[in-house]
C-alpha cells in the first residue's frame, strides 16, 4: 500500500471513529460535502468560527455563574442556547448533548448543576477540538502526498 493509500485509510478509520464515538453526526458529513474547489477550506473555516464561538460563550457562562450577588440564569441559558444551536449546526453532537443537559439545570436555577455542566461542555469542546485538528492534519498530509480526501458517508 503506498503512502497516499495508507493516509487515506487512516483518514477513513479516524472519520468513522469520530462518528461512532458521537463526536460528530450527519450534519458534519453534510458540511464536508459542501467543501469543493470553490470553497476548499470551508470546513476548517466553519469549525474555526465554531471554536471561537465556543470559547466566547463558555467565558460568558463562567462569568455569569461566578456572580456572587446572584446568578442571572436567563443569561447563562441564553449562552447555552446559542452554543446548542451552533453545535447542532456543525454536527458537534457531544457538545450539543452537553448543552441540552445544561439547559435543564439553568431552568431549575441550580448553580451547582450548572457548574458541573459547564465543566462537561468545556471538556467536550476540548476533546472535539483535538479530534478535528487531527482530522485536518490527516487531510493536509493526504493533499501534500498528492492524494484526494476520501468521502466518508
Amino acid at each position: 500500500m503506498n503512502i497516499v493509500n495508507q493516509l487515506q485509510r487512516q483518514f477513513i478509520d479516524f472519520s468513522t471513529s469520530l462518528h461512532r464515538e458521537g463526536f460528530v453526526d450527519d450534519q458534519f458529513t453534510q458540511l464536508q460535502k459542501l467543501q469543493d474547489e470553490n470553497s476548499p477550506d470551508f470546513v476548517v473555516e466553519v469549525v474555526s468560527l465554531f471554536f471561537e464561538d465556543c470559547e466566547k460563550l463558555i467565558n460568558n457562562m463562567a462569568r455569569a455563574l461566578e456572580q456572587t450577588q446572584g446568578v442571572d440564569f436567563k443569561q447563562v441559558d441564553a449562552s447555552v442556547h446559542q452554543l446548542k444551536g451552533s453545535s447542532s449546526s456543525i454536527g458537534a453532537m457531544r457538545v450539543k448533548n452537553a448543552c441540552i443537559a445544561f439547559r435543564s439545570f439553568c431552568e431549575a436555577q441550580n448553580r451547582e448543576g450548572c457548574l458541573r455542566c459547564l465543566q462537561q461542555v468545556t471538556h467536550e469542546y476540548s476533546l472535539l477540538k483535538n479530534k478535528l485538528q487531527t482530522l485536518f492534519t490527516l487531510e493536509q498530509q493526504i493533499l501534500a502526498a498528492g492524494g484526494s480526501i476520501p468521502v466518508v458517508d
Partner: protein, 142 residues
Amino acid sequence: MVLGNDASSSSLSNKNLSVLVVDDDPLIRMLHDNYLKHFGLKPLVVENGKEAVDLFQLGTSFDLILMDKEMPIMNGVEATKALRDMGATSMIVGVTSRGSPSEMQAFMEAGLDFCFEKPLTFDMIDFILKELNVNDDDDTNN
C-alpha cells in the same frame, strides 16, 4: 437521508433567484450562505430583522428569505410580520433553534411559508427551492 450531487442539476434554474439570509449568528450566516451557494445561488446576508425590513423599504425584493427567529433589535417574528404588512410576497422560511410546537406555530402565524428547525440541511433547501421553482413557473418574469 442525505442528498448527493443531484443538487447541482437544479442550480441552473436557481441562478435567477434572489435570496436573503437573516441571522444574528455569524456561524449560521456563513453556513447558510455556503449551502445556498452550493445550489447555485448568491445570497445577500444580514444580521437582524431590522436590516431585512430596511432593505425591503428601499425597494429591494427577494424570492426567498431565510429568517432566524431569535435576533437582537428586531426578531424573526416581528420582521416577518412587518414584511407581510408591507406587502412582501417573498417566500419566507423560518429557521429556528427553538423547536417547541407552540413557538413554531407563533412564528408561522407571523406570515411564514415554512418553518424548519435548525440545522438547515440539503434536503430542506432542496425542498424549498423546488417549491420556489414551482411557484416561479406560474409567474411572469419580473
